[in-house]
């Protein structure tokens, strides 16, 4: 590979070398890092496949079986004695409600913390402390939070909602504080110069100018929280449609019923995705 030159310069322009041949491609540091990363990930994948524990499942047979199950699920979903239309609709409402309460609590906490995390409204040390704290909180999976709360504070909706709120706060805090930081520095300076207090600046300038972003981001998180609430219903006994899915798959082994429940979940998720996509497009939000 005589045409590859190792250079830390990141411009991709062709360089002439001493022998006058034109170098079309340079192996720059970013490219090298990219290739090494891909190689490492590929190696890990190969080793992973070589050592994965399949518990002696015949993979070909299981694949065929899965395909047949998927056919039944999506081709002939059926309600059962336990899961009728009315029951499934009620369970979906419970899951949506859990997601709603989680989003509400998360949003309130995130607005308050977001004001202290935004660099233009606070000093850098407080901002860094809050952001560091949040990254530790986010490192613990939501299902662990819910399980910890259901043992430490008792089973029920409270444990589920508060357990799910942690990642919601982390997510919204980042979104909110970034939209607070977009406020023109001159506005804050002008208000400060005319003697406005911190509280006045927040309520007269910061919140009004970012309210549409706050609401859009909150809805986007609500959409995510619906899927989270389905998962917590299944894995942590939080109730709702996820719990029905868990019952159908582990105990009733009713594939047509699993299909019926899955259709309910997909329908709600798709409607929310359409709304969220419109909001993102209107406010040019990238998540």
């Amino acid at each position: 590979m005589s045409t590859l030159i190792l250079s830390s310069a990141s411009n991709g322009r062709a360089k002439r070398r001493a022998n006058r041949s034109i170098v079309l491609r340079q192996l720059t540091l970013p490219k090298l890092a990219l290739r090494m990363t891909l190689l490492v990930l590929l190696a890990v994948t190969v080793i992973g496949f070589a050592t994965i524990d399949t518990r002696d499942t015949d993979l070909r047979e299981a694949t065929g079986e899965s395909a047949r199950y998927f056919g039944i699920m999506f081709g002939s979903p059926e309600p059962s004695d336990q899961v009728t239309f009315g029951h499934a609709a009620r369970q979906v409402l419970i899951t949506l409600s859990l997601a709603f309460l989680t989003t509400l609590i998360g949003a309130v906490v995130a607005i308050v913390l977001g004001l202290f995390a935004a660099r233009n409204l606070t000093n850098p040390r407080i901002s860094n402390i809050i952001k560091g704290f949040i990254s530790v909180i986010r490192a613990i999976p939501t299902v662990l939070w819910v399980l910890i709360f259901s043992i430490g504070a008792g089973l029920g909706a409270v444990a589920a909602v508060i357990g799910m709120s942690f990642h919601t706060v982390g997510y919204l805090l980042k979104a909110y504080s970034e939209s607070f930081e977009e406020l023109d520095a001159a506005v804050i300076e002008a208000l400060r110069a005319s003697g406005a207090s911190w509280v006045q600046i927040v309520f007269q300038a910061v919140l009004p100018s970012s309210i549409t972003y706050i609401l859009s981001w909150t809805f986007i998180r609500f959409e995510i929280n619906f899927a989270v609430a389905v998962a917590m219903g299944a894995a942590a006994g939080a109730g709702g449609i996820g719990f029905e899915l868990f019952q159908a798959a582990w105990f009733r082994l009713d594939i047509a019923e699993i299909g019926y429940i899955t259709y309910f979940i997909i329908a709600v998720a798709l409607v929310m995705e359409i709304i969220a996509t419109r909001l993102k497009r209107r406010y040019h939000i990238h998540d």
């Binding site: 970013p30 890092a33 990219l34 990363t37 891909l38 990930l41 890990v44 994948t45 080793i47 992973g48 994965i52 524990d53 399949t54 518990r55 499942t57 299981a62 694949t63 899965s66 998927f70 949506l96 409600s97 859990l98 709603f100 309460l101 509400l104 609590i105 986010r138 490192a139 613990i140 999976p141 939501t142 299902v143 662990l144 910890i148 043992i151 008792g154 029920g156 909706a157 409270v158 444990a159 508060i162 389905v230 998962a231 219903g233 299944a234 894995a235 109730g239 899915l245 868990f246 159908a248 798959a249 582990w250 594939i255 699993i258 899955t262 979940i265 997909i266 998720a269 798709l270 995705e273």
Partner: protein, 262 residues
């Protein structure tokens, strides 16, 4: 509109939204039997409980080898799922992207397919797959793979749209073939961003693998569930600490890599 009228209307809209939110909150609290008084004391109660019960002891430390081996399985699983999903999501994204699509109907089909995959929650994937594949790590891998595939397909589509539109146009104008355009413009242009998405999915999958593990009875999640249910909270705490360290280390490496490649 006079300012007076404008403010009055805005006040009305604000009040309506607030009343609506309060009503929904009351309904949601009622249907889930959410105990508000309980909620206010929950966090202090859990903090107190954690200090008494959720700190690793000697037994938990002695279990570290087993926990670490489960953790390693989990890391393998998330990397595998992200890598295989990325390899399959790329052709899907080529078909669905506005700049590289082959035919309109095919692009619509690709987008719709990716959208359905993305909207089936990972918990549903895990519970569906367990019926045929049983309680094994492979089931967990498949569930992570399907969910990641849906997410990456869309992320890659957007990346290709953004990163390579102008260079694709230039190459097309110069008479390059489809394969040439993809290999010379699309892949070099969008690779850094796509790798960044993969790193993001590896981080996310480590957390999701815990959830999938509980549902499929495998890996670190299942181990945590067992310790919690058999009241061995101190060993469960050890798992939580290991997960925090792992996620933070992976996040730090990813961020360092992003700074170099992006």
């Amino acid at each position: 509109m006079t300012p007076d009228k404008y403010f009055r209307r805005q006040k009305f809209v604000l009040t309506a939204v607030l009343v609506g939110m309060v009503l929904i909150t009351l309904f949601a609290g009622d249907i889930t039997r959410f105990d508000t008084a309980d909620a206010f004391t929950a966090v202090p109660r859990v903090v107190r409980w954690s200090f008494r019960n959720f700190i690793p002891d000697e037994q938990a430390v002695s279990r570290l080898p087993r926990i670490l081996s489960r953790l390693l399985d989990t890391i393998y699983m998330s990397v595998m799922a992200s890598m295989i999903a990325a390899i399959l999501a790329f052709p899907m994204a080529l078909l669905g992207s506005r700049t590289t699509r082959v035919a309109g109907w095919l692009a619509g089909a690709a987008r719709g397919f990716a959208s359905v995959f993305r909207n089936i929650p990972i918990a549903a994937w895990a519970l569906i797959l367990i019926l045929a594949f049983g309680t094994s790590d492979f089931t967990g891998f498949l569930a992570l793979f399907f969910a990641t595939f849906g997410f990456l397909s869309r992320a890659f589509m957007e990346t290709i749209d953004e990163a390579s539109a102008s260079s694709v146009e230039a190459l097309r104008a110069a008479g390059a073939s489809y394969t040439q355009t993809v290999s010379q413009a699309v892949i070099p242009g969008s690779m850094p961003q796509m790798l960044s998405w993969m790193l993001y999915m590896i981080e996310t999958n480590i957390r999701s693998a815990t959830l999938v593990g509980i549902l499929t009875g495998t890996g670190i999640g299942f181990q945590f569930d067992i310790y919690m249910k058999s009241l061995q909270y101190r060993s469960a705490a050890m798992i939580a600490i290991c997960l925090i360290v792992t996620v933070l280390v992976i996040e730090t490496i990813s961020n360092a890599l992003r700074r170099v490649i992006l």
